[in-house]
């Protein structure tokens, strides 16, 4: 496959697309968790996202994609520190990856051949300033989960071994996908994801036909298809860039802060991370809509995304947490 399926050509699944765009506007929102059945386009969307994201400026050859020459770590041993434009990194973290591959380890090649102590960066280094994608995140080994939590919290990866002490920035947006039938996610990791989305196959026949037709066009008439949809992707990309700029000027009225706090209080979500994420997501959404101030409608739109996975489980509630968020929103915001 030469090009991944374009992001804009994905039929439906608006919530998932929305969540991914919000993190592209403001990376500090945190990650996105996509839970749903097989064959609903989870992996397709993530791989499409890589092609959609605006490029970043980074020092050429820098293992952690530093933006400025001064930030390049010493162990990288770069000669020229010229910057160039490169696509936003989207790194796949496979299940069962060893700790060494994730954090980085001694460069075996150099150590054996030349007896040099050099550091070979791992996946965390490559994902810096970009995205880290974990498919089937609910099946991830516990010790890798712990490690990710640690790094996600500090934004820094620390490798310490016998005269090899490496510290490098590792700030990334975590995207996890999984099928809830195969296993639950630990609450600690659940909380780390800023937004969460539940996807399901579209149930109306027209949408399903549209999905199949686009897939067919993608496979059989690739050039024309890409030409058409890459233009759409470019439009989204421009809008993301505009929104990033608008984000700085966006005003947050006190009333919004009060609303956000009230919603979270009413839902009884644990900790303050819910409030922060909801606020950030609402801001990003307002910026995306090109509005000048945050209103209740922004909060209302993104609240299910930001809060759904932070509620305590209620064994008697069959409707799912999304419906509960909806009910509370109705009560609090009217």
């Amino acid at each position: 496959m030469t090009h991944p399926f374009p992001f804009s050509a994905i039929v439906g699944q608006e919530e998932m697309k929305q969540a991914m765009i919000l993190t592209a506007i403001d990376a500090s929102i945190g990650g996105v968790l996509v839970f749903g059945d097989r064959g609903t386009g989870k992996s397709t969307a993530v791989r499409a996202l890589a092609a959609l994201l605006p490029p970043i400026r980074a020092v050429k050859g820098c293992p952690v994609n530093s933006a400025k020459a001064g930030e390049v770590p010493e162990w990288a041993n770069l000669e020229s520190k010229r910057t160039h434009e490169r696509p936003t990194p989207v790194v796949d973290l496979p299940l069962g990856a060893t700790e060494d591959r994730v954090t980085g380890a001694l460069d075996i090649e150099k150590a054996l051949a030349r007896g040099e102590k050099a550091f070979e960066p791992g996946l965390l280094a490559r994902a810096n300033r970009g995205y880290l994608y974990i498919d089937e995140v609910n099946l991830l080994e516990d010790h890798i989960v712990d490690l990710l939590l640690d790094v996600a919290q500090s934004g820094e990866n620390l490798v310490e071994r016998e005269g090899l002490s490496i510290r490098h920035p590792a700030r990334f947006v975590l995207i996890g996908s999984g099928n809830p039938e195969e296993g639950e996610l630990r609450p600690q990791l659940l909380d780390r994801f800023g937004l969460s989305v539940e996807v399901s196959s579209p149930q109306d026949i027209e949408t399903r036909i549209a999905v199949i037709k686009r897939r067919d066009a993608y496979e059989n008439d690739n050039t024309a298809f890409m030409l058409r949809w890459q233009a759409e992707d470019a439009a989204i990309r421009d809008r993301i860039l505009t929104a990033r700029k608008a984000l700085r000027k966006l005003k947050t009225p006190d009333q919004t802060l009060r609303d956000v706090a009230e919603v979270c209080l009413a839902l009884g979500s644990d900790g303050l991370r819910g409030e922060l994420t909801l606020l950030k997501a609402a801001r990003a959404h307002a910026a995306w809509r090109n509005d000048t101030a945050i209103t209740r409608s922004h909060v209302r739109t993104v609240a299910p995304l930001a809060l759904r996975h932070r509620l305590r489980r209620d064994p008697l509630d069959e409707a799912g947490t999304g419906a509960r968020v909806g009910r509370i929103l109705e009560d609090v915001l009217g």
């Binding site: 496959m1 059945d37 097989r38 064959g39 609903t40 386009g41 992996s43 791989r47 796949d92 496979p94 299940l95 069962g96 060893t98 700790e99 001694l106 075996i108 090649e109 150590a111 054996l112 051949a113 030349r114 007896g115 040099e116 102590k117 498919d135 089937e136 099946l139 080994e141 516990d142 010790h143 071994r161 016998e162 099928n179 039938e181 195969e182 196959s201 579209p202 026949i205 399903r208 036909i209 999905v211 199949i212 037709k213 897939r215 067919d216 496979e219 059989n220 064994p315 008697l316 069959e318």
Partner: protein
């Protein structure tokens, strides 16, 4: 059965035509039939790389060849088996771990097929991982095919003559998927590709209805969750419908295609759906996985010095090897340098023991109905529990309280004896029964045993927790107890032993988030089989 064989070959031809179809799941025991099929696959697809689920990342994805590197003093890289153009055959696919599965799904997403999964599962509970089989278009089940079938000509296909051109194959294919209750969108996608490949095989560049029939039959049969209602016979159409008939002529034979797919539906479709549903929940089989350093299936070695842990010598040496040059230089001595930080410990994942807690309703209403049958079913389950080394506990509830007849034990003989002597009669204190089961389950869990509650009742609760005969209060109490069990995350299973399925009991099962098995008029053997399916791995 010759048809199955020839359909399998057709699937191979389509796969050779277009690798975007992913591949096929081959369910068959090892034997001459499977050999013949794999040979046919190799002829059509080209040389096949064989994998097995215990392969490590280095073998799959490549890495440094340590032996060669050490021997030559230069870094020698080894290529992995998963290459862009490799044709993959995975043996014993039903044993693939999630991590291994993830490697292959990624490979499929990135490079596409073809890939053949050999599924040697003996029962419905053993099957190739869903994440993989969903990404492969076809499913070929050669279990019942004999060698003599291979040489036999297939029965003639009715749809050979269907050469009506289809203007809009996508719509038709999606609609057919709907009829069979197929949710995943990969299925119609595959069917469309397969239909086109089928047309190309016949040298056509447009899709005719015969192509769609063949493609849907191959792609949908094993994914179906519904059997569509039979279409009304054509004679019922009145003359005035002619206009309509003509209109639908260009995308006509939905019915024909439906029939073609239906002809290929497995006989045990409903059992399969039931099995799939049962394992969809948390109702998974034997005890939960527990990590340890003593026994069980080996996991990748971990760093660190845990007391009493067993050292993984190979992994430790592998960690130490890259440092040798550096350490020799640092210390000036020419020997093997292994430092504490190199030490890797063995890790194992062992399945914890499982405790089956039978909560048996011995009240008057149940006793009349089928206490004897329930007893028979429990006995059959006991035999299976024995072969799996499960623990068993027996609780009965009748009159105004529950009684633990047998604390957790592995003694099957004792359980049988207590069960035979189980008296019946009195009211139905369902809540008390559930509470007793929960208590037993929590105790077991503290000992590191994974409990499963198996509730056999007719659901007609009429004794409240405080012992009063109050139907409403009794039902409310039972719901509350069930919610507690669920909140504690204990797996459960509800078997309705009443004459008719009781709606109240179905609701209770939902509260427990447990599979609900209404078995009016079932014999002990069927009951036991149903339980076994629901509890399967």
């Amino acid at each position: 059965m010759a048809d199955v064989w020839h359909n399998g070959l057709l699937a191979l031809r389509l796969l050779a035509q277009n690798h975007a179809l992913g591949g096929l799941v081959l369910r068959a025991r090892a034997g001459p039939v499977r050999e013949a099929f794999l040979q046919a696959a190799e002829e059509r697809l080209g040389p096949i790389t064989k994998l097995h689920p215990a392969m490590t990342d280095e073998t799959l994805l490549g890495g440094i060849d340590l032996a060669a590197t050490l021997a030559s003093g230069e870094v020698v890289l080894k290529q992995g088996l998963l290459q862009a153009n490799s044709r993959i055959l995975l043996a014993m696919a039903e044993r693939a771990s999630p991590a291994f599965t993830a490697r292959l799904t990624r490979h499929l997403d990135q490079y596409g097929g073809p890939m053949i999964l050999c599924d040697e599962g003996a029962t419905l509970e053993e099957f190739a991982p869903d994440a993989l089989s969903d990404r492969l278009a076809f499913h070929v089940d050669l279990t019942d095919v004999s060698l003599s079938d291979i040489s036999r000509r297939p029965a003639g296909h009715a749809d050979k003559n269907n050469t009506d051109q289809i203007v809009d194959p996508s719509t038709q294919i999606v609609e057919i998927a709907q009829h069979f209750g197929i949710d995943s969108l990969r299925a119609p996608s595959f069917a469309l590709v397969a239909a086109k490949a089928h047309a190309a095989l016949s040298g056509r560049d447009t899709v005719v209805s015969g192509d769609i029939g063949a493609a849907c039959a191959l792609v949908y049969a094993h994914r179906a969750t519904l059997i569509p209602d039979s279409p009304p016979p054509p004679s019922q159409k009145s003359e005035s419908d002619i206009g309509q008939t003509q209109q639908s002529q260009d995308r006509l034979p939905d019915d024909l295609v439906l029939e073609a797919v239906k002809a290929m539906l497995p006989d045990d479709l409903l059992d399969r759906v039931a099995a799939a549903k049962a394992r969809g929940g948390k109702g998974s089989g034997s005890g939960a996985l527990q990590r340890g350093n003593r026994r069980g299936r080996p996991l990748p070695a971990r760093a660190g010095r845990r007391d009493n842990a067993r050292i993984d010598l190979m992994a430790t040496l592998r960690t130490a090897v890259p440092w040798q040059t550096i350490r020799r230089r640092d210390t000036g001595t020419d020997r093997l340098h292994v430092r504490a930080s190199d030490i890797r410990n063995r890790q194992f994942a062992a399945k914890t023991d499982r405790l089956l807690i039978f909560a048996v309703d011995a009240s008057g209403s149940a006793a009349l109905a089928r206490l004897a049958e329930a007893k028979g079913a429990v006995e059959l389950l006991l035999a299976q529990a024995y072969s799996r080394r499960d623990h068993v506990a027996l609780i009965s509830f009748r009159g105004d309280a529950a009684q633990t007849l047998l604390p957790p034990t592995r003694s099957i003989v004792q359980t049988k004896r207590r069960l035979a002597g189980l008296p019946g009669g009195g009211g139905t204190p369902l809540a008390a029964g559930l509470d007793a089961a929960l208590l037993q389950a929590l105790t077991a869990r503290r000992k590191g045993i994974t409990p499963t509650i198996c509730l056999l009742t007719d659901g007609r609760a009429n004794i409240a927790r405080d012992g009063t005969a109050n139907r409403q209060q009794a039902a409310a109490d039972a719901t509350q107890s069930a919610a507690q069990i669920r909140a504690a995350g204990i797996e459960a299973l509800v078997i309705d032993t009443g004459h008719r399925p009781a709606e109240a009991l179905r609701t209770l099962a939902q509260t427990l988030s447990a599979p609900y098995l209404p078995l009016p008029r079932a014999n002990a053997e069927r009951l036991s089989r149903a339980v076994q399916t629901a509890l399967a791995d």
